[in-house]
Amino acid sequence: MSHLIHIEIDDLDGTLLRVLGLIERRGFFIDAIEMYPIDDKTRGLSVTARAKESHRRFETLYAQIDRLYGLKRVAEPRKAAAAQKLSA
């Protein structure tokens, strides 16, 4: 079953690859990625991921993402607000 993960990442070198690499390496396929600006220093990232084997647990993946620095996992993307700000 696939999960949709929303993450807000900083603008520093490596953060995007750090989190995408982690998801793959820890045993998940990435089926879709979407990125969107949130503010000058923050980008939103939504990843649709699916476990490669049945014993790979999303709870563990979430904890592994949460222990990275420079990003935050969020329940809802702030995409709409960002889009509004950009068009304004």
Binding site: D13, G14, R18, G21, R25, T60, A63, Q64
Partner: protein
């Protein structure tokens, strides 16, 4: 201009402000501004002879002291040479900060001379990393790097600094930056109560401790909880020493080369109290057959470890000290269980009465640790000798068994000895190595000589890659493939050429005197010991098998699978 510091000078002044007293490194093009600022700064820099040595030495310095280890290298090959050490620190959760030089920012991404994307290469093996683009940020980034390396579950942090950033002058000198001090998560009271209840219900409880206990500085708290409860203990490779290995309730290491008593206790226990350990496959054997009757209480500072490999009935996220202090279960009578554990320990105690007159390495290592007493610190390489140290040496103190656990990196022992002896000058720091491993960082003997570091080296020479040989014998039908090292150099002559004292022993009656001579030495000294290549590590749980299936071959019995 004169009063404006460069980025490089900010690196040095920040390291000093952070309390760094020693760092290990090797210079080169891209990091020259930092080496320029280093000269005359008062910081002690140890020039190793290979960057891998710098990363291992920094790692061991950190393990021995609990402080952050620091290493430094130039871009490209210098940086890639650090990688094995970074992975090692990551796998064993060692707090380390690695500073690398990088090509100038205008050359980034152009395949500049000695350009390597070290940030990208190390993403999976660091806790965090930076490519510094603004020299004014150096104090804040380095300070944060030290904090991250230590907070929660420790680990390595990389700071990559382009040459122009290090060389640039900084107008407004920033302070180191204030960060909210990190607070460990408060253990949930309900979880503690639930754990107490499981302990109270248990007839056969067992502590399974890992390296997290000493890293959390929770040794006294564990001791007190053991005294309150009388529960026996088994340990992982990295947990050895947290409880003195001579303790009555200590059953030994569990897992592939664990003691029978430890593995039997785990298989029989009805409750495992897992403290700062992570169900590594070398410890658990076949996971589905591991501790089949046990409920699990898992205490860790890293939420990602709880329920990763084995579901816990009670998972407690938090600082071990607080959790252990909070546990006050009213014990039921577990004396039958404890008596069974102790009698297994006695029944399956290691034997040292090997036949013949050749040197029996397990007996030698046991004697070495006993002679060195509570000042004994072992820095191991990887192989049979490493497992013999874990099985047979006594450890009376924590932070005294420095070994490459999760990574199993041959070559760790000698540079680790450099770092550990500098950290603990009054201890009997002994590198225990094999003839294969020793050659991987043999150049660090030059570092011993340069700084007069009186490390003691025990080189167990079986003229082969012993552990690989053992597996080929047992699991590959004695098809010995590429394990012969009978053309080794004369290690005594080599060590002497590096300026060490060195001597060799070949028979059992020389052991006692040789160990006394080694321990009394006040110069770097190598003891070269010839042992029988056919000697193996027992017991052994075959890879992928349950820990209940321990193979053992004894002098008076044929190879046996229990």
């Amino acid at each position: 201009m004169i009063n404006q510091p460069t980025g490089a000078q900010l690196v040095i002044s920040t390291l000093r402000a952070l309390g760094v007293d020693i760092l290990f490194g090797y210079p080169g093009g891209a990091i020259m501004p930092i080496y320029d600022a280093l000269a005359g700064s008062g910081l002690t820099h140890i020039l190793v002879r290979h960057e891998q040595g710098a990363s291992f030495a920094a790692d061991a310095y950190a393990r021995a002291t609990g402080k952050v280890g620091v290493c430094m290298a130039t871009s490209g090959p210098g940086a890639t040479n650090l990688i094995t050490g970074i992975a090692n620190a990551y796998m064993d959760s060692v707090p380390m900060v690695c500073i690398t030089g990088q090509v100038g920012t205008h050359l980034l991404g152009t395949d500049g001379f000695q350009e390597v994307d070290i940030l990208g290469l190390t993403l999976p093996i660091v806790k965090h990393s930076w490519l510094v683009r603004d020299p004014a940020e150096i104090p804040a980034i380095l300070s944060r790097a030290f904090q991250i390396a230590q907070e929660g579950r420790p680990g390595p942090v990389l700071v990559d600094i382009p040459k122009d950033v290090a060389a640039a002058f900084v107008k407004d000198v920033p302070t180191t930056g204030e960060f909210p001090s990190w607070q460990p998560p408060q253990p949930d009271v309900a979880d503690i109560k639930a754990a107490e209840k499981l302990i109270e219900q248990s007839k056969k409880p067992l502590f399974y401790i890992g390296g997290g206990v000493e890293m959390a500085f929770a040794v006294p708290q564990l001791r007190a909880l053991m005294d309150r409860t009388g529960i026996p203990v088994v340990s992982t490779l990295k947990g050895l020493g947290a409880i003195p290995t001579t303790d009555d309730l200590f059953l030994g290491m569990l897992g592939m080369h664990g003691t029978r008593a430890a593995n039997i206790a785990v298989q029989d226990a009805d409750l495992l109290i897992v403290l700062g350990a992570r169900f590594d496959d070398r410890a658990t054997g076949k996971l589905s057959a591991f501790a089949p009757h046990a409920k699990v209480i898992h205490v860790d500072i890293d939420a990602a470890e709880i329920n990763k490999l084995r579901m816990a009935q009670v998972g407690i996220l938090g600082d071990l000290k607080m959790v252990l202090d909070g546990l006050h279960p009213k014990m039921q009578d577990i004396s039958l269980w404890v008596a069974k554990c102790k009698s297994d320990k006695k029944k399956h105690a290691f034997r040292y009465d090997a036949p013949g007159t050749g040197i029996y390495a397990p007996a030698l290592l046991k004697l070495l640790s006993e002679k060195a007493g509570d000042k004994f610190v072992a820095c191991c390489d990887v192989g049979q000798h490493q497992m013999w140290v874990a099985q047979h040496c006594q450890f009376l103190q924590n932070r005294a068994h420095l070994t490459s656990g999760g990574s199993g990196a041959m070559g760790y022992g000698l540079p680790a000895g450099v770092g550990a002896k500098l950290a603990l000058p009054d201890h009997h720091v002994v590198t225990v190595s094999g003839d294969g491993s020793f050659m991987m960082n043999i150049q660090e003997m030059a570092t011993l000589r340069r700084y007069g570091i009186p490390l003691k080296i025990v080189l167990l020479d079986n003229s082969s890659l012993g552990l690989v040989r053992q597996w080929q014998r047992l699991f590959y039908e004695e098809n010995y493939s590429e394990i012969d090292l009978s053309d080794n150099p004369d290690f005594v002559t080599v060590a002497q050429a590096f300026g060490l004292d060195a001597f060799r022993i070949t028979s059992r009656d020389e052991v006692d005197g040789a160990l006394d001579r080694l321990l009394a030495a006040d110069k770097p000294t190598l003891l070269h010991i010839l042992i029988d290549p056919r000697e193996n590590v027992w017991p052994l749980v075959p890879p992928g098998a349950s820990n209940a299936e321990m193979m053992e071959e004894r002098w008076d019995e044929p190879l046996d699978s229990y």
